[in-house]
């Protein structure tokens, strides 16, 4: 790629740049999942929501000529799928984990079906902010090309952390997630709050998907997502359900995903597929080290089925 001039020193810079580029979908999906899980449900289907968001965002950007309308529609499509998950899970004795698996299949199926006509055409994509122009090095310039959505994600993480801690709404969501009985005793509708949180989480995951198709890699095809939606679910556990920690975890995951391409650019091609598996191995390793068979995880919402 762009690291030839710097040789091996280019690898960490390319990883950093890649981390910033690749982390945005992780950030949005994990914030959405964080909101859903804080309310006491897990949505494993965000992988399907992500792909659906990528497809609808790209299609609408192509049809309207405005990438930002695409981002909005991607969010709305994700919200619709999140709402579906939330409503089905509100039925008695329906497992949220199983519905998530169903949503994963439904979301990717719908996206592949509806997205077929948009594989070829070129849609307008999101603009980048060139924050690296002070440097003469093209590597650093490339690494600091930042998308507005990345900054929006940071702002959102801060806002969510504040809202969970200091607002009435945040307290309601946390209470519903920690003890449904307490929430019911206080007169709050548990299923409705959870459904709303899942729908809002779906919106964020849809926006994260639109980043994939509208900025980086910046096109729509059926192999666009490779499990980012699922890894984001594990990422939230790693981040202990704290929005700000989600941001750092997303950067870490983005960096892990950038190792393969960065090494390839300096001529290390031998274990290409193995390096591409780095994010999954990292996710699994983190889950192994942070989980425990005996106690529930620190910071886990009390009603969450996945940690019990």
């Amino acid at each position: 790629m762009e690291s030839e001039a710097l040789g091996w020193y280019g690898v960490p810079i390319a990883v950093l740049g890649g981390a910033i580029r690749v982390s945005t979908p992780f950030l949005f999906v994990s914030l959405g999942e964080c909101l859903t899980e804080r309310s006491g449900r897990i949505n494993l289907g965000l992988e399907g929501v992500l792909v659906m968001g990528a497809m609808s965002g790209y299609a609408v950007s192509f049809l309207t000529g405005n990438a930002w309308v695409g981002v909005l529609v991607a969010g709305l499509a994700g919200m619709a799928l999140g709402l579906l998950h939330g409503l089905v899970c509100s039925l008695a004795r329906v497992s949220d984990i199983a519905v998530g698996i169903g949503l994963m299949l439904l979301g990717t199926g719908l996206a592949f079906f509806l997205g077929k006509p948009y594989v070829q055409p070129k849609a307008p994509t999101l603009p980048a902010l060139h924050l690296g122009d002070w440097s003469a090095s093209p590597q650093i310039q490339a690494a600091l090309q930042i998308n507005v959505l990345f900054l929006a994600g940071i702002a959102l993480a801060i806002a969510m952390a504040w809202a969970f801690r200091a607002t009435r709404w945040g307290l309601i969501v946390r209470m519903v997630g920690d003890s449904a009985d307490a929430a019911r005793a206080m007169g709050y509708p548990v299923a409705a709050v959870r459904t709303l949180c899942t729908a809002a989480g779906g919106f964020l995951a849809g926006v994260g998907g639109s980043f994939l198709s509208l900025y980086y890699p910046g096109s729509w095809n059926e192999g666009l997502s490779s499990g980012q939606g699922l890894m984001a679910v594990a990422l939230v556990i790693f981040a202990r359900w704290r929005p700000l920690a989600c941001f750092w975890a997303a950067l870490l995951f983005g960096g892990a995903g950038a190792i393969g391409p960065a090494l390839q650019s300096v001529g290390v091609t031998g274990g290409y597929y193995l390096f591409n598996a780095a994010p999954y191995v990292l996710t699994l390793a983190i889950m192994i080290f942070t989980s425990s068979p005996n106690r529930t995880l620190a910071g886990a919402p009390g009603e969450l089925s996945v940690t019990r």
Binding site: L105, L106, G109, G227, Y280, M287
Partner: protein, 366 residues
């Protein structure tokens, strides 16, 4: 005293027990069938909104799946791996685990079968086939048991863990097929060295369907016996029903969880062997065909009942088989069947809420 008094009442309910079983069976049959009918209706609306004729779509699915003997053979051919991957979901589910890593066990099992088949080329075909099946089943069993072990010993959620393991398995598979194990002669489509023509798993006599179907059906029967009619199967169901009760009763929970995962993984690995040894002749990217994911759907529709898996796999295999005719005749994308499957999956899961609601299905005198 009360217990003694209750005895005659219990004895008196012997006759209605048979009808209770019928009621429960009817519930288990009618609710999934109803959910499938609803999902077909919803899919029809979806198709109608897109400006296609739903009746024509269903006629084509019927035509492509079940109308002729050719269609039936195509359907059965596709059902064979689905039966085996569905077992990979259904057996751990009996221990209360939602494992969705069948795709990974399938591709690694296929790789192991291809490698062992090539290494043993020249030996007696039956011995080679046996070795391939053993290698594939061992690999698949170890892979899914890994997910079960992470769950039991480290508390790692088995659903997320098994899906991550699938991505890792596919990366390993690609690494070996395109790297160290690549047949230099496979130019356009990287593959492993082919296995002997003589060692290929053939077709059933008089049919264009390979033996993999029989492997699947036999595996299902064996699992049915294991789960319903053995002590280990009973213990497994206790673990699935209530882990704490199982621990208090002194059952070996860890061994049961790992064992059920290993059995399921062996089934998925065998599916990989069947695909390699009966269809492709070597391990290549064609193995990554989504059989593992469709198997999840099959297992859930069958409610993790090994015997129900066979007809459901034939149904889903038929829907898959009709994908190409939908594409040719109505110009629908090949993902059409994925949409139908996704809708069916959601409907089946939503229908879980109906169990035990209708009075008609409840045992009388209880």
């Amino acid at each position: 005293m009360e217990a003694v008094a209750a005895l005659p009442a219990n004895a008196g309910t012997r006759a209605p027990l048979a009808s209770d079983a019928v009621r429960r069976a009817a519930e288990g049959l009618l609710i999934p069938l109803g959910a499938l009918a609803v999902s077909m209706l919803l899919f029809g609306v979806f198709v109608l909104v897109l400006g296609k004729d739903p009746i024509a779509v269903y006629q084509l699915i019927w035509k492509g799946a079940f109308s002729t003997s050719f269609a039936w053979q195509n359907t059965l051919q596709r059902a064979a791996p689905l039966i085996l991957t569905a077992l990979c979901v259904a057996i751990p589910a009996r221990a209360g685990l939602i494992v969705i890593g069948a795709e990974g066990a399938l591709v690694l099992g296929g790789l192991a079968a291809a490698v062992s088949g090539h290494l043993l080329s020249g030996h007696a075909p039956l011995a080679v086939q046996l070795a391939m099946a053993l290698a594939a089943m061992t690999t698949g069993a170890a892979w899914i048991a890994l997910a079960g072990g992470l769950r039991h010993f480290r508390g790692v959620n088995e659903t997320i863990g098994s899906l991550l393991l699938t991505y890792i398995a596919i990366a390993l598979f690609n690494h070996f097929v395109e790297g160290p194990l690549r047949d230099p002669a496979s130019l356009n489509k990287p593959s492993t060295m082919p296995i002997d023509e003589a060692s290929m798993v053939g077709n059933l006599p008089g049919l264009d369907v390979h033996w993999g179907l029989v492997f699947g059906v036999v595996f299902c029967l064996a699992c049915h016996v294991l789960v319903r009619h053995t002590v280990a199967g009973f213990a497994l169901r206790v673990v699935g029903g209530n882990v704490r009760a199982a621990r208090l009763a002194g059952l070996p929970v860890g061994a049961l969880i790992l064992g059920s995962c290993a059995v399921g993984g062996a089934a998925a690995g065998l599916a990989g062997m069947v695909e390699v040894a009966a269809v492709h002749g070597s391990a290549n990217a064609s193995l990554i065909a989504g059989y593992g994911y469709a198997g999840i759907l099959v297992a859930f529709i069958a409610r993790h009942n090994p015997l129900a898996i066979v007809p459901v796999a034939i149904l889903v295999g038929g829907i898959n088989a009709s994908g190409s005719i939908l594409q040719r005749r109505l110009d629908l994308p090949d993902a059409t069947v994925l949409v139908l499957q996704g809708i069916a999956f959601m409907a089946i899961l939503a229908a879980e809420t109906l169990y035990g609601r209708a009075r008609l299905f409840q045992p009388r005198g209880a």
